[in-house]
């Protein structure tokens, strides 16, 4: 045992003598673990909240009962249903106008029947007290923004009425940031009091959606069951978003592992001598292997923990952006606080330790076979690398031709990366060979030949750089292209000056009448919507009043010669790109839509509809209303003389009490959409940047590795009379050359990746294609970044070289045997 401990001690002492090497190992593993586990944390957090949301949405999205003739449901009918075994919970939802004029939705509920399923865990908060919610002075739950709005009313309440309770006291305000703005939630007793509706309810929510018993006879003429649309499968919709993040984090993990590889590789190589000594001392190969593994296990588990903490930190940092984009794209609610299951820590630890051991496999085998890991004389790149690279490229081509799923898209990307990584050393070698061929002097010849010699030991770092650069070019290009397309599309699509949504039909009519009296309003364009299910997919139907605003501005991807006239006159329809791809529909097809009076609809155009996860069908408002009488109306787009927009908005707000979300001018809608867009890609871009920095560190660590081995190669050149200053110059030049070549090769690779992203991944993930665009300025930036990181990485080893004493250089000869 004592001997064994000495072996471990001897092995570990290596790190004490090479602290920089240890640092690169730590950095590599740290960043690999941090990036991987950080993104996994984000994904898990999101999935967790979808699961919770879906169990809650299942209820919100449950069928409910309303009264057939009136808004209110008498409470006795609720009791009658409960006593007949109906799993219903009562609700009272109505808008109230505050003294200051804001309209707010009051929701009264009964938490006791709402929480029917007690098998569930408390998902929300330990601060909720049932007895306080149900007992005087009662509680009002609201969002922080609503609380801010209402606080003055609480500070300075009227003598009676809202917000006083029946006993004249003020209920407690309970602020919760998971709640929507402009909503107050309170107990039914207080809600009934405030609305002055004793023993009245507005909805009865069915707690079990599979409950299909017919209504009791006495209530059949009174109540009506409404089944909601079932479009809330957020997890399915957001899968592609998470797959994107996962792919990026896997890449970061691999780049980090490359650093680990170079550190481990170097450490093992440098311990060849130690190995010989240990063998001589009687340590067996199995023992040595055991202790090397122990050392790696020890190191990796020690580093994994701060790595996980860093991952947690990254996730916490990115979470607001991720949740904002998920909310914007899919309406998914992710709470802004990270709550991670225990499994996250375990899997992160396992990934780090497993990754390290896997990375160390090849160097370990080499060490035990007593093969010097660094080849001194033959710079040749193993042929197997090129062949495998070619095979991977071939497989990628096959996959590109045959695959059609999102997963196959990502596999294609992976194959492109793998083949590029495998082919890079060979390609660089070929390029340098070409330079060598044209070199004039002996020094030049040495320069090229020596550069070729460096490819093999630097290959891992160069591949890391290639990956980081090409990802940056690819993803950056995609995001930038998307931004351009999206902004242009918004410009066109949002042609009307004002958008407004009335609260109900009655208000809609009043508003319409009011608007006709306003000379500055040049066109009132009402629209309607309803939802249908098509092959179990939710489809949104939109009805518009045909007008030049649409025909002049609406961007179409494909159209018949007279699309807009057909929409107006022949009840033709337009569909969005998502739906066209999903259903394989083309211009000229006749569509059969469920629930319509008309048997089929002529498809006259396809339009782009970025950011919408759902399929959409556009038709004239008349067509929509004739076929789907339950169409919701009340939305208007208004054409207004530009300088009259602000006064009009002001008057509208004043006359109709329209809240901020119901009345928007064009600029507000654009701002909102663009803000959402920025946030959507903020996480992607942050991750991208992190990957690039990891690659720079990888390059640095490889150079460190290399510089310590360079002595035997540099010493003879020095002996031939090349000064140390010149040697430093050549070294730098050579390195910059390698970085430059890699960066140049990263451009076509990045373009290929960007092409795959816009034409394959986006289409399969979101249902819309983007034009493939490229941004040469970005490439130049990337080349500069590559050269910069190479320069930074080379600085320390080169300073060392410049300071080498002649004795140290002479040692190079001693070691060279």
């Amino acid at each position: 045992m004592i001997t064994n401990l000495w072996v471990l001690h001897a092995l570990l002492s290596h790190w004490r003598r090479h602290p920089l090497q240890l640092m690169t190992l730590v950095l590599g593993l740290l960043s690999a673990t941090a990036l991987w586990s950080g993104v996994q944390a984000l994904n898990q957090q999101a999935r967790h909240s979808y699961d919770q949301a879906s169990s809650q949405l299942e209820r919100l999205n449950q069928p409910y009962l309303v009264h057939q003739q009136q808004f209110w449901i008498p409470q006795v009918q609720y009791i009658e249903l409960r006593r007949a075994g109906w799993p219903v919970t009562p609700m009272l939802q109505e808008q109230i106008t505050l003294p200051a004029g804001q309209v707010i939705t009051l929701i009264g509920l009964d938490p006791v029947t709402l929480q029917q399923s007690t098998q569930q865990q408390n998902t929300f908060t330990s601060t909720f007290s049932l007895s306080q919610f149900l007992s005087p002075p009662w509680e009002v739950w609201l969002s922080p923004a609503s609380a801010e709005q209402l606080q003055p009313l609480w500070d300075n309440p009227p003598i009676q009425g809202f917000p006083r309770n029946p006993e004249g006291e003020l209920p407690q305000l309970r602020i919760n940031n998971t709640l929507a703005d402009n909503e107050l939630i309170t107990d039914l007793s207080l809600a009934q009091h405030w609305l002055q509706q004793p023993e009245q309810l507005s909805h009865l929510l069915l707690l079990d959606s599979h409950f299909n018993t017919p209504l009791p006879e006495s209530l059949q003429a009174e109540l009506r069951r409404i089944d909601p649309e079932s479009d809330q499968d957020i997890a399915r919709l957001t899968d592609s978003f998470h797959l994107n993040l996962s792919a990026l984090s896997l890449l970061a993990f691999l780049v980090g592992l490359m650093m680990v590889y170079s550190a481990v590789h170097l450490a093992l190589t440098q311990r060849l001598a130690l190995k010989r000594i240990l063998y001589a001392c009687g340590v067996s190969q199995v023992q040595l292997l055991g202790w090397l593994m122990t050392e790696l296990l020890l190191l990796s588990s020690l580093i994994a923990i701060p790595g996980l903490i860093a991952g947690y930190w990254i996730a916490a940092l990115l979470l607001p952006d991720v949740s904002a984009s998920l909310a914007g794209l899919y309406g998914a609610d992710i709470p802004p606080q990270l709550q991670l299951p225990g499994g996250w820590w375990h899997s992160g630890l396992l990934m780090a330790v497993g990754g390290t051991l896997f990375t160390a496999l090849v160097p370990l085998i080499k060490l035990l076979k007593q093969q010097p890991a660094v080849q001194h004389s033959n710079p040749g790149i193993p042929v197997i690398l090129n062949i495998t690279g070619m095979l991977c490229a071939l497989a990628a081509i096959c996959l590109a031709l045959l695959g059609d799923s999102l997963l196959s898209g990502f596999m294609l990307l992976a194959l492109i990366f793998i083949s590029a990584g495998l082919l890079l050393p060979g390609l660089l070698n070929r390029l340098l060979q070409w330079g060598q061929h044209y070199s004039g002097s002996v020094t030049q010849l040495w320069f090229w030949a020596d550069a070729r010699l460096q490819i093999a030991p630097l290959s891992v770092a160069l591949v890391a750089l290639l990956f980081a650069l090409s990802t940056s070019i690819g993803v950056g290009g995609m995001v930038e292209g998307f931004r351009l397309t999206f902004t242009g599309w918004l410009e066109q699509r949002l042609a009307a000056e004002v958008y407004l949504r009335a609260e109900d039909d009655e208000q809609a009519e009043q508003i319409h009448h009011w608007l006709t009296q306003r000379p500055e309003v040049t066109a009132i364009l009402p629209s309607g919507r309803t939802d249908i299910q098509l092959n179990n997919q939710p489809i949104e139907l939109r009805g518009i009043q045909p007008h030049a605003t649409y025909s002049d501005h609406w961007p179409l991807l494909a159209a018949t010669p007279n699309t807009w006239a057909q929409l107006d006159e022949q009840a033709a329809v337009l569909i969005n790109e998502q739906l066209a791809r999903q259903q394989g529909w083309q211009i000229g097809d006749w569509l059969h839509l469920p629930g319509s009076m008309q048997s089929s609809f002529y498809l006259a155009g396809i339009y782009s509809d970025y950011g919408n996860p759902k399929g959409q069908i556009l038709m004239s408002l008349d067509t929509l209303e004739q076929n789907w009488p339950d169409t919701q109306r009340g939305s208007f787009a208004l054409r207004v003389i530009p300088k009259a927009v602000d006064p009009l908005l002001h008057d509208l707000r004043l006359s109709f009490n329209l809240s901020g979300t119901r009345l928007l001018d064009q600029q507000a809608v654009k701002d909102y959409s663009l803000r959402l867009f920025e946030r959507t890609f903020a996480a992607t871009q942050a991750l991208n940047l992190l990957v690039l920095s990891v690659a720079a560190v990888a390059l640095f660590s490889s150079l460190l590795t290399l510089s310590s081995m360079r002595l035997t190669q540099v010493a003879p050149v020095w002996a031939c009379g090349v000064s140390r200053r010149h040697l430093v110059g050549y070294e730098l030049l050579r390195l910059l050359l390698l970085a430059l070549l890699t960066a140049l090769l990263a451009i076509p690779l990045g373009l290929l990746i960007s092409y795959c992203l816009v034409t394959l991944i986006n289409v399969r993930a979101f249902g819309w294609a983007l034009p493939w665009q490229y941004f040469p300025l970005h490439w130049i930036l990337m080349i500069l970044a590559a050269l910069g990181s190479a320069l930074a990485a080379a600085a320390l080893p080169l300073i060392q070289l410049a300071r080498y004493s002649p004795t140290r250089l002479l040692q190079g000869f001693r070691d060279d045997h």
Binding site: V112, Q115, T125, S131, I185, G611
Partner: protein, 360 residues
């Protein structure tokens, strides 16, 4: 289109799954099992002077903090296969004081029900608020209900009842016929629960014949057997350091009955009590030292160890029996979870009964 902000009600997010009986505050101070040891200022307190009689005791006592109507039955199908049912209605007041009307009413109601066979145990629960008619108890004619669960008297003198329950998984409709007198437990219905003086008013109908139909899934079974009804009310039935109990109701084959319980303290001695009821219905309260209750077999259920086999002795009445659970997995998967199921016993006497074990 991206410009349509999703505006959605998120109020369901605020709803916790809380424990009704415990009033659901996470109070660090000990409250006994299910909050039954909570202090009860402002509520009516139990007293040995209170006169309890039947059938008045069936009615509600809203001035007390808590009460329950509790029925167990040991039944058999025509093949003689045993099964047990349990039906309980709990009431708890959140705050003392006069009863408020409508949804403002301070009473909460909770129903628990179960059906147990040798290899099957199904349990369910339901919640309601007082003041609106979803749950409640009326005196004349007697009816206790929550949703469509009902126990009601079919005769004015409360000697015959119907017990009804339907859930998607199981249901039953039983006629219960009182065949012996109502029995006051403890000292004339004043049942002491701890050495510190916590107590409840407690009256039982241990002599009841049950018959009717039981449904499990789609399967209907004709059943008959013996039932036991308990009425108990109090404002603080447990002392704060009592964490649970083991309670037995036993139908001895000779026709006499035995009720025993042990209240387990965090610290110190457990508290024992019980009543031996002879076949004529005369109660003989038992002193703690007369009772010997010893667990003899443990069983792992719902991640806990529970004593599902017991050795019970009341030497003064010549009772030395060994009990066994019909189904050791009779775990109530309810908001407040506990073990409750039919048992059989042998030894000096044999028979059937029910065992309830809480706070494990």
């Amino acid at each position: 289109m991206i410009i349509n902000p999703h505006i959605r009600n998120q109020w369901l997010l605020i709803l916790p799954i809380s424990l009704l009986l415990s009033g659901c505050e996470a109070d660090p101070a000990p409250q006994g099992f299910a909050g039954l040891g909570s202090a009860a200022e402002g509520f009516q307190t139990v007293s040995p002077e209170t006169l309890i009689d039947y059938p008045d005791a069936l009615g509600a006592h809203p001035d007390y903090r808590i009460e329950w109507w509790y029925i167990t039955a040991n039944l058999e199908d025509p093949q003689g296969t045993p099964l047990g049912i349990q039906w309980t209605l709990f009431r708890q007041a959140l705050t003392p004081g006069p009863q408020r009307d409508g949804w403002a009413n301070q009473q909460l109601w909770l129903g628990h029900a179960a059906i147990t066979r040798e290899h099957q145990h199904l349990s369910t629960e339901t919640y309601a608020r007082g003041g609106v008619g979803q749950a409640g108890v009326t005196q004349e004619p007697f009816e206790a209900w929550i949703d469509h669960w009902r126990l009601y008297a079919t005769r004015e003198d409360a000697t015959e009842f119907i017990l009804e329950l339907q859930t998607p998984e199981f249901g039953y409709q039983l006629q219960l016929q009182k065949t012996g007198p109502a029995v006051l437990q403890g000292d004339q219905g004043f049942s002491i629960k701890s050495a510190q003086g916590q107590a409840s008013h407690y009256i039982s109908l241990p002599f009841m014949h049950a018959s009717g139909e039981v449904r499990i899934g789609d399967k209907q079974l004709e059943v008959q057997g013996q039932a036991w009804l308990d009425r108990e009310w109090s404002s603080q039935p447990l002392s704060p350091d009592q964490q649970g109990w083991d309670w037995f109701s036993l139908h001895l084959d000779q026709g006499d009955k035995l009720m025993l319980f042990r209240l387990r303290h965090d610290r110190g001695e457990d508290y024992y009590s019980g009543t031996y009821i002879d076949a004529e219905g005369h109660p003989h309260p038992l002193q703690p030292q007369q009772i010997h209750m010893q667990p003899t077999g443990q069983h792992s259920v719902a991640g806990r160890q529970l004593p599902v086999e017991w050795q019970l002795s009341v030497a003064d009445w010549g009772i030395h029996i060994q009990t066994q659970a019909l189904n050791p997995d009779a775990w109530m998967q309810t908001g407040i979870a506990y073990w409750e199921g039919p048992i059989r016993f042998s030894g000096s006497h044999s028979g059937v009964g029910y065992l309830e074990m809480t706070g494990y």
